[in-house]
């Protein structure tokens, strides 16, 4: 998938350099779409989904908070 992202980006650059503007735009937008899809895939966790529970310190008190209590 990452190879596809870079391949379409490289194609967009080469095509843009050679003057085919519309095709270059299409390739570039495809590469962005692939990159966004890959980004969502990479950050998704089967356990947490897209949440980041390690940042929710209110529900998961820090050690020093537990000691204070």
């Amino acid at each position: 998938m990452m190879a596809a992202v870079f391949a379409t980006a490289l194609l967009a650059f080469v095509v843009a350099w050679r003057g085919h503007q519309r095709f270059a735009s299409v390739c570039f937008l495809v590469s962005i779409a692939l990159a966004v899809g890959l980004f969502l895939y990479e950050i998704y966790s089967p356990e947490y989904g897209f949440r980041m529970p390690w940042l929710q310190t209110l529900d998961n008190p820090m050690p020093w908070m537990a000691r204070r209590g």
Binding site: M1, M2, A3, V5, F6, A7, A9, L10, A12, F13, V14, A16, W17, G19, Q21, A24, F28, S31, I32, A35, V36, L38, F39, E42, I43, M52, W54, L55
Partner: protein
């Protein structure tokens, strides 16, 4: 026949515009070159989100190179801003993933001035977005930007051509590197897939 004062004033914004674009392009080319040097010189394999950050930096340059090659257009500015925002989103998410130490999650690679790559990516994205905002605020919408190609400034044109070709070559190297590291599947940071 000497140019009158009004003509000289009209020529100033396109020069500033292309100088700005050239500066951004050279800055990003230097950053991406440093990333490749760290990868192959220090053996630091990039994580998937790091590779997406590299892609976003190349994307910022896509709009700039089109401006150099085929004349200035605000559409190309849009492409660059889109990738700048994508870079910021990816970098913030990666920083938040690693900001709290826990098993299996830590910043990858060495720190430069105390900051790791994802944090630097936030700084870079903010610099690009702020620079574009200031440029738009200062130069605004100006027909002379669109009507004046970079060829009107031969020194800029030569430098832009070399920098653009260097960046395309760097992207090709990155593509080959990604294929060697990830193959056609998922990327990992412990070894190059095609090198065993």
């Amino acid at each position: 026949m000497p140019a009158d004062d009004s003509t000289a004033r009209l020529r100033l914004p396109p020069e500033l515009n292309y100088a700005f674009l050239l500066l951004v392009l050279l800055g990003i080319a230097a950053i991406l070159t440093a990333a490749m040097v760290l990868q192959y010189g220090s053996g630091e394999l990039p994580c998937p989100l790091c590779l997406l950050e590299r892609f976003a930096m190349f994307g910022i340059c896509f709009g700039i190179i089109r401006n150099f090659r085929h004349g200035f257009s605000y559409r190309n500015t849009g492409y660059s801003l889109l990738c700048g925002i994508f870079l910021l989103v990816v970098a913030v998410r990666q920083t938040l993933l690693d900001i709290y130490p826990r098993p299996g999650h830590a910043y990858i690679g060495s720190a430069i001035f105390g900051l790791h790559m994802p944090v630097w990516s936030i700084v870079i994205a903010l610099c690009v977005l702020i620079a574009y905002a200031v440029k738009l605020a200062v130069l605004g919408e100006n027909a002379s930007l669109r009507d004046t190609a970079i060829d009107a400034f031969p020194a800029f044109a030569r430098l832009a051509r070399v920098a653009s070709l260097y960046l395309i070559a760097l992207l090709a190297v990155n593509f080959v590197s990604v294929v060697i590291q990830c193959g056609l599947g998922e990327c990992h940071t412990f070894s190059y897939r095609l090198l065993g």
